[in-house]
């Protein structure tokens, strides 16, 4: 899970990484009071999880009380995203902007520290355009990051004296967060460098490993983490779900197969309303899965599976039960194969469904239906 900037900065603060003074507000009318306490100029930053906030107009500087509330209102009401909260932060006048992160390298099986004196842009852009400007230092996850490696980075960034020492501290703190919170990624971009040889984290990105949630401090699922109510519900149900705005609700099993069906819908000229997996541990939960699909204004539900443990007969029976309970207002196309698939065919046929056996055929049928073809 990815934390909001304000949450990540709270973690930074606890680990001794300097962050600007700030206040979190939930309405435009709180902005002036918060900014007044912090002192002008201030930065107003939408607390949303998507990237590119600056370009989307979700981050603005205010320099006097007069325009603070209007600017805040502009961000809250932005069409670019659903904004529930703003972080009001003291503006920083940096001497430079750096980049720091720790993540994992699957190939070498080591953790990887990346740093650059050219922060402020996306690391991917930097990697593509100026790869030589990115410093890398890897470490073994059982031994951990050692201070000499942090020094290697600090001095390779051409820092001197106190600034180098400060950088070492920040890197070691960043490592502490990475380790203690089982992070997938912890990133500071930009890290502002100040003339007096100190640093302040301009932004904070912290992605935690959901699989390690049981062994670290908890960040419970909250509505704010999700763009839509359906995605939030799906997350609470533990059903992998992504929202799109097309016609066909996918209700498939297996990540690879669902992605393949997603591709095929597009190849056939269709559009996807939602991506949903009801395989794996959820293969008996057809009703919950279908409820999520029905919460969309989609035109067709397309169920494609090819399970081993997720038995075809069990899934077919679940689908039929879901139909009985939910009485969907839109057609269902099924292509349920795998363990006990003969039985599945019987169950689906008995329920009046036409079971497909070939994925591409099923997709073509769904696309045709979405375009107004007959069921």
């Amino acid at each position: 899970m990815r934390l909001f900037e304000y949450e990540a900065k709270e973690v930074f603060r606890r680990y001794g990484i300097p962050v600007p003074e700030s206040a979190l507000i939930y309405a435009p009318e709180e902005a002036e009071g918060a900014a007044g306490k912090l002192g002008y100029p201030c930065v107003l930053k939408a607390q949303v999880l998507s990237g590119g906030r600056g370009k989307a107009g979700l981050v603005k500087v205010v320099s006097n009380p007069e325009n603070t509330a209007p600017v805040a209102a502009g961000i809250f009401d932005s069409p670019a995203a659903t904004v529930d909260a703003l972080l009001v932060e003291q503006a920083v006048e940096p001497e430079g902007e750096m980049y720091l992160s720790i993540t994992v390298d699957p190939l070498s099986a080591r953790a990887l520290v990346m740093a650059s004196a050219s922060g402020g842009v996306e690391i991917e852009t930097l990697a593509a355009e100026n790869p030589e400007k990115i410093l890398r230092e890897s470490f073994d996850i059982s031994s951990g990051l050692l201070e000499y490696q942090a020094r290697n980075i600090a001095y390779s960034l051409h820092l001197q004296g106190g600034a180098a020492k400060e950088m070492v501290k920040i890197l070691m703190s960043l490592y502490g967060i990475f380790r203690d919170l089982d992070a997938e990624l912890v990133e500071i971009n930009p890290l502002f460098s100040l003339p007096e040889g100190t640093f302040v984290a301009g932004d904070a990105k912290l992605i935690l490993d959901d699989n390690a949630a049981g062994r670290r401090e908890g960040f419970p699922l909250r509505r704010e983490y999700f763009e839509s109510e359906i995605e939030y519900r799906a997350a609470k149900e533990g059903i992998p779900y992504l929202q799109f705005d097309g016609d066909i609700s996918l209700m498939c099993a297996g990540a690879g197969l669902t992605t393949t069906v997603f591709d095929l819908v597009h190849y056939e000229g269709g559009t996807v309303a939602n991506y949903l997996e009801f395989g794996g541990p959820n293969y008996t939960r057809a009703t919950e899965a279908m409820e999520l699909c029905l919460a969309n204004p989609s035109k067709v539900i397309l169920a494609v599976t090819f399970g081993t443990i997720a038995r075809a007969d069990v899934m077919a029976r679940g689908l039929v039960e879901a139909l009985d309970r939910l009485k969907p207002d839109r057609p269902i196309v099924t292509c349920i194969r795998g363990t006990n698939e003969e039985e599945a065919v019987k169950i689906l046929s008995a329920a009046g469904l036409q079971p497909f056996f070939d994925t591409e055929e099923a997709v073509r049928k769904a696309v045709a239906l979405a375009k107004g073809g007959e069921q």
Partner: protein, 297 residues
């Protein structure tokens, strides 16, 4: 022949007495897998599907297992992997879905440093159809799994059944199928299996079932380009239309900053000389093109 696993491989099962362990042990035995022992702490002296059960891997030492299959929950997987490695086992399959990322790094690092093959997590396992299986595949559905000369490597489960069924329909069977799994840090990678397939006389070509995210397909392309692998290489890669930055399905299937895109993978594979399908329906034609008259054995 086959890779990693054949009829003679002495297989241990950690977590044998659990529901999944018991169920799939039956299937593995039925297929002909040589399951020599099982491990469940606290259950030594019992037997499970006729297989003797031990408290620990070390206590099962007399059975001289060469490979171990783990039916162990994600958070205990690291421990179980190290237990198997400590006992000298160098082929390990872990089907657990949800291994913590930092554990996965330590697991893979251990694999690299002692030269072990650790397959998974988040995989259906390994099957040499007609011979032996470690994991769960519906080998009994003839239209899905047939013995043959095609090596298959995959990051998926259900999609794998979809694709192998197409291969069977086109007349091709499988030598060994290795599910490297859908995690961001799998214990072994496509490119690390290719030398094994290269050396296997029964494998005449290899099919990769890939997806968006990561760099495993690109590494396989590199192995082909550099001549490490010299047999026909085919690939099906899904996720052409997947949006950037979203985790589409597998944790390993996330595209960020232009890396791990399906188009990048396809370019790399084709440039190296591989045949790439982006729709399942393209596969039979490509298989015939690459392997010609090769058919199921």
């Amino acid at each position: 022949m086959s890779i990693l696993l054949d009829r003679s491989t002495r297989v241990l099962i950690q977590g044998i007495t659990g529901k999944e362990g018991t169920f799939w042990t039956r299937h593995m035995l039925d297929l002909g897998t040589r399951v020599v022992a099982g491990v469940t702490p606290g259950k030594e002296g019992e037997s499970c599907q006729g297989v003797p059960v031990y408290h620990t891997v070390r206590r099962a030492a007399e059975h001289e297992a060469e490979a171990s299959l783990l039916f162990v929950p994600p958070r205990y997987t690291k421990d179980a992997v190290f237990e198997a490695l400590d006992a000298g086992i160098r082929t390990i399959v872990t089907v657990a879905d949800g291994i913590p990322l930092h554990d996965a790094l330590q697991i893979r690092k251990a694999a690299l440093s002692c030269g072990a093959h650790i397959i998974g997590g988040n995989t259906s396992g390994v099957i040499s159809p007609g011979k032996a299986m470690m994991g769960f595949f519906p080998y009994w559905i003839e239209r899905v799994y047939k013995t043959g000369r095609l090596g298959v490597m995959t990051r998926s489960g259900s999609l794998t059944n979809e694709i192998t069924a197409l291969a069977v329909r086109a007349g091709f069977g499988v030598s060994t199928l290795v599910g490297v799994g859908g995690d961001p840090v799998p214990g072994c990678r496509f490119s690390e299996m290719l030398p094994l397939y290269q050396d296997d006389p029964e494998t005449e070509g290899v099919l990769i079932i890939g997806e968006l995210g990561g760099t495993m397909e690109e590494e396989a392309a590199e192995a082909l380009a550099s001549g490490v692998f010299r047999k026909p290489l085919l690939a099906f890669v899904c996720g052409v239309y997947a949006p950037e930055g979203k985790r589409m399905g597998h944790a390993g299937a996330i595209v960020t900053g232009g890396r791990g895109t399906v188009n990048g993978k396809i370019r790399a594979l084709e440039k190296a000389g591989a045949l790439v399908a982006t729709r399942p329906g393209m596969l039979p034609g490509l298989l015939n093109q690459a392997l010609g008259e090769e058919k199921t054995t």
